[in-house]
Amino acid sequence: MNQLCLRQIRPCVVIVVSMIAFSSHASELDKLFDEYRTKGVRTFDPIAGEALWRQEFGGKSCTSCHTESPRQFGRHERTGKSIEPVAPSVNPDRLTDLRHMKKWLLRNCKSTLGRECTAQEKGDILTWLRDQ
């Protein structure tokens, strides 16, 4: 009897699991994390991400335009144009558009660090920002 029950339950379990696999639609941010993983990044470190946010590179840092807190409105250092908060908790549109995220990570890393950020750096900072 026990064996029979197991035999009946097993397919149900498989169905439930596969339906979860089917329905879970990877977010744009998850796709970016997956991309970084394929480049060899094993773990993403939010503490390193926050440190990078505040780190100065020849007088420039993320905070120069975005301010210390990603929950605040920023201001372009030279043009004075207002920048919407980056933190999804106050600006839910953030970190939802793959093209947008890639474009700004490329531009802003080159502008601020003078080079492209590594997959590790980008993953770290996004992991930190995601929870802000």
Partner: protein, 215 residues
């Protein structure tokens, strides 16, 4: 339990298992396809779609502005607004000659000290828009004024234009450079209330901390 019942249960169990495995494989395949191959294609489609709608709408607005005769600037391209207008005022394209826009768009990796790189297709599209509406295109009288003194290397800044300098030379430093709410002449919209729509009429100037300006 009869043999028949056992057989039926076994058959149902097998069918469910097959269905589950099939669904699982399909789900994984769909998810990985979605993340990989189709992503580029879908992004491209969205671009194409955007391109069409933008072109249509800007044409419409263009006609409207011609009819009313009140605007001296072509309707802005939505992509130009989005890509360039996120850091600074999307400067009206009729303010610089075509060669200037091309030089600017070719050097976006060092755009006055910032990196403002664009994907190649977006760059082409915006460059084409700027070129179509540059000061040495078309036949507007205002454009002729903006072209005064432009010889040799194309100017990279609107603020370098002779006409621009003539229009702004009498404004004291305290109202622009030393005014924390303005800081630079390149921030047109700090004083020109309708600059975003390409309007720079004198009766629409309000200098922050000073008030309306009319000479």
């Amino acid at each position: 339990m009869s043999r028949m019942t056992q057989f039926t249960q076994y058959a149902i169990g097998s069918c469910l298992l097959a269905l589950a495995i099939g669904l699982g494989v399909f789900g994984i395949a769909a998810a990985s396809l979605d993340a990989g191959v189709t992503d580029g294609a879908r992004a491209q489609q969205e671009y194409d779609k955007d391109d069409d709608s933008d072109d249509d709408s800007s044409d419409d607005r263009d006609d409207e502005s011609h009819d009313k005769g009140s605007y001296n600037v072509k309707a802005m391209d939505a992509r130009y607004q989005e890509e360039c207008g996120s850091c600074h005022l999307a400067y009206p394209p009729h303010m610089l000659p075509s060669a200037s826009w091309k030089a600017i768009m070719n050097g976006l990796d060092d755009h006055f000290g910032d990196n403002a790189e664009l994907a190649a297709d977006v760059n082409r599209r915006i460059t084409a828009f700027l070129d179509r509406n540059a000061s040495d295109r078309g036949d507007r009288m205002t454009n002729a004024r903006l072209l005064q003194g432009v010889v040799g290397d194309p100017p990279l800044r609107i603020t370098e234009l002779r006409y621009f300098k003539k229009e702004h030379h009498e404004i004291p430093r305290r109202m622009i450079e030393d005014n924390p709410e303005v800081q630079s002449l390149s921030r047109c919209d700090a004083c020109h209330q309708d600059a975003a729509r390409g309007r720079f009429d004198e009766d629409e100037i309000v200098i922050p901390g000073v008030g309306p300006w009319d000479d």
